[in-house]
């Protein structure tokens, strides 16, 4: 028989220990989400008045009542950005991890360490590095080189703003993807690649038919991770181009930020965020479905 007193005491102790965490989660996660949701149905601005206007914000967003002239461009930007940064991250990470495992051990470690630097520096520094490198005057890194070679300066940010933003974020993504892929490759049993070599496989065939298939789970995980990250994060874009020039690199999450905190249209910004949250939930659902939740959460991401 269970002693009810002991169980009670256990629950009491449990709730005492767990309650701060619960309070924090509620305070910093649920409350903001609910607030955002509520604000999305108001036309709240700088004056912070709660004036409920029903679905007007969403109607405007989808062009049903009134029209946001930028929304089409924002969606297009977001898609281009993700379509560029995601393959760059996964493909680059894969390529670099495979190459770095091929070369001498110490050189490989050094090589991977270099590519991990972007993760180690503060976002502001990383952002500034790109701004400085592609600065449109002769003081920017690349233009300084061009000037030295007697070539005219190029206005990089006017000509290729999206490309720069994609690369800055992609390189950041590569560092994590490469780390994950490298450790996955390192855990592939040596005998397996040796067997392939004895079977007559070239380096490329070993990579194509043995290594990459065995990285299936790490690749899927990293794809999902970075997909969500590119949908939601705007910090680096904000630091590098701030969405410009003239909305050329303004993606959805940055647009929401600008609406709320630059133009003080809190209500509209909140509705943009709400849509983003819904997109996130949909993506999460698709990802979990595609992976099989249980498989992803269970161990053995590298099949041996």
């Amino acid at each position: 028989m269970k002693n009810p007193n002991i169980t009670d005491r256990k629950y009491l102790a449990l709730s005492v220990f767990i309650s701060p965490a619960v309070v924090l989660v509620i305070l910093f996660y649920f409350v903001p989400v609910i607030l955002t949701l509520l604000i999305a149905f108001t036309d709240m601005d700088r004056s912070l008045q709660w004036n409920f206007i029903g679905f007007d914000n969403f109607a405007k967003l989808f062009g049903l009542k009134g029209k946001d002239p930028f929304i089409g461009k924002i969606i297009k930007n977001t898609l281009i950005y993700i379509a560029g940064a995601l393959p760059l991250t996964i493909g680059g990470g894969l390529l670099l991890s495979i190459l770095s495992m091929k070369i001498d051990r110490n050189a490989g470690v050094f090589f991977r360490a270099i590519f991990f630097i972007p993760r180690a520096v503060p976002p502001v520094v990383w952002g500034f590095l790109w701004v400085w490198a592609f600065e449109g005057t002769r003081y920017g890194l690349f233009n300084a080189i061009r000037t030295a070679l007697g070539l005219p300066v190029v206005h990089w940010f006017i000509k290729y703003p999206m490309l720069i933003v994609i690369m800055a974020n992609g390189f950041l993504g590569i560092s994590l993807a490469m780390l994950v892929f490298s450790s996955a490759i390192a855990s592939i049993p040596r005998d397996l690649t040796r067997a392939a070599e004895i079977d007559g496989a070239t380096d490329w065939q070993i990579t194509r038919y043995v290594i990459i298939p065995m990285l299936k789970w790490p690749i899927l995980t990293m794809t999902a991770w970075h997909l969500m990250s590119f949908v939601n994060s705007y910090v680096y874009i904000m630091l590098i181009t701030n969405g410009g020039p003239y909305y050329a690199t303004e993606v959805w999450s940055l647009y929401a930020y600008h609406a709320a905190f630059n133009r003080y249209r809190y209500g509209y910004g909140a509705s943009l965020i709400t849509v983003l949250v819904l997109v996130n939930i949909a993506l999460l659902f698709i990802v979990l479905k595609a992976f099989g939740v249980r498989k992803m959460l269970s161990r053995g991401k590298i099949e041996v």
């Binding site: 040796r194 067997a195 004895i198 079977d199 038919y209 299936k216 099949e303």
Partner: protein, 366 residues
């Protein structure tokens, strides 16, 4: 089929001499076992022959051709790894056919050949399974099928039976031996199990700490071990060793230790090729070559271990213990006083210092 020659082969990993000056010839179609305890350099030797390791020094020849600079994929070798190394993401058919698919052979061709090999190894009903769905014995056959499908000129097997349970191992031992004889492929087989080597191989090369101890047929190793290590490694239950001195008395020789002395038979004396520097020697005698009941060696029974057909009796003389294999028909009990004798032509003598057999010439003279 090819012959394989290892000439002064060395493979060092920093300070570790995994293979130390190995000289070995494996004839066409021969089944050679590399036998030795864990860490003696068997796998390293195999991987060097396969081309995964560059020798620190020395050469590997296939027939008369030096292959040191030929990459593994061009050596036409079939290999079965200790872990089997099946590709986990491919089914059995694709695993077996992988070497042919790499060569871009048409599907009709590789399919037909894979099914043929699978039939040979009796795994043709498993072709759709994934490796994870196979038992150890089945995995081993798939690995073997994959090694055989490209009709290699040399087959390398790294402890292929060690992951199987005892019963299956005995079955596979016989099957593998038969298969090797049927196909006639030159085969190098690595094992640390002397029984496996004895039962399967045409010849055995015994290694210790990267150094070759002895090469010979199973009978040669059993009857004429070159040193104490080989003598103790081969045969179960292992050989008995007794330290003592070799003394000359008139025209005959006497082995003397603390507890007994025996006059060495003429046959034994005939076999001695050289005499030890000092008279310090080690006498070796296999448990089945000791006879109970009569003789001048007297001792007391220490323990009795029945093994079915035979019984293993340990006899104690002071601080010396001798194991004797006797027929189970006679019963012995602990504490009983017995006398025993050695089958005179079966006695081995080793140099007490170098532990080399006195029956073969010294290393330098060989």
């Amino acid at each position: 089929m090819i012959s394989v020659t290892l000439k002064n082969l060395k493979k060092y990993f920093g300070e570790v001499r995994a293979v130390d000056n190995l000289n070995l010839q494996i004839g066409e179609g021969e089944f050679m076992a590399l036998l030795g305890p864990s860490g003696c350099g068997k796998t390293t030797t195999l991987l060097t022959i396969a081309g995964f390791y560059k020798p620190t020094a020395g050469e590997v020849y296939f027939n008369d051709r030096m292959v040191n600079d030929i990459p593994p994929r061009s050596r036409n070798i079939g290999m079965v790894f200790q872990s089997y190394a099946l590709y986990p993401h491919m089914n059995v058919l694709d695993n077996i056919a992988f070497p042919l698919k790499l060569k871009k052979q048409p599907k009709k061709v590789w399919r037909k050949k894979a099914v043929e090999v699978a039939k040979l190894l009796q795994i043709d009903d498993l072709l759709d399974r994934m490796p994870a769905q196979l038992s150890g014995g089945q995995q081993q056959r798939v690995a073997l099928a994959r090694a055989l499908i490209k009709q290699p000129q040399l087959l390398l097997l790294d402890e292929p039976l060690s992951n199987l349970d005892a019963k299956l191992r005995i079955v596979m031992r016989a099957e593998l031996k038969r298969l090797q004889k049927d196909l006639g492929i030159t085969t190098i087989f690595v094992t640390h199990d002397q029984m496996e080597a004895m039962t399967m191989a045409d010849r055995i090369a015994v290694l210790k700490s990267g150094k070759l101890q002895q090469v010979g047929t199973p009978d040669e190793l059993y009857d004429e071990p070159a040193n104490v290590f080989v003598a103790s490694f081969i045969g179960t239950p292992p050989m008995n060793f007794i330290r003592g001195s070799l003394l000359k008395s008139g025209s005959s020789y006497v082995f003397e230790c603390e507890h007994f002395r025996i006059l060495l038979d003429e046959v034994v004396v005939q076999k001695i090729r050289r005499f030890p520097v000092t008279n310090n020697v080690i006498l070796g005698i296999r448990p089945e070559d000791v006879e109970m009941g009569r003789g001048e060696i007297k001792g007391e029974i220490y323990v009795v271990e029945p093994m079915g057909r035979d019984t293993l009796v340990t006899v104690k003389f002071g601080d010396v213990y001798i194991k004797v294999l006797t027929s189970s028909t006679v019963k012995y009990s602990i504490g009983e006083n017995v006398s025993l004798s050695f089958k005179s032509d079966k006695v081995q003598l080793f140099d007490g210092e170098t532990e080399e057999s006195l029956y073969v010439k010294g290393r330098d003279e060989r």
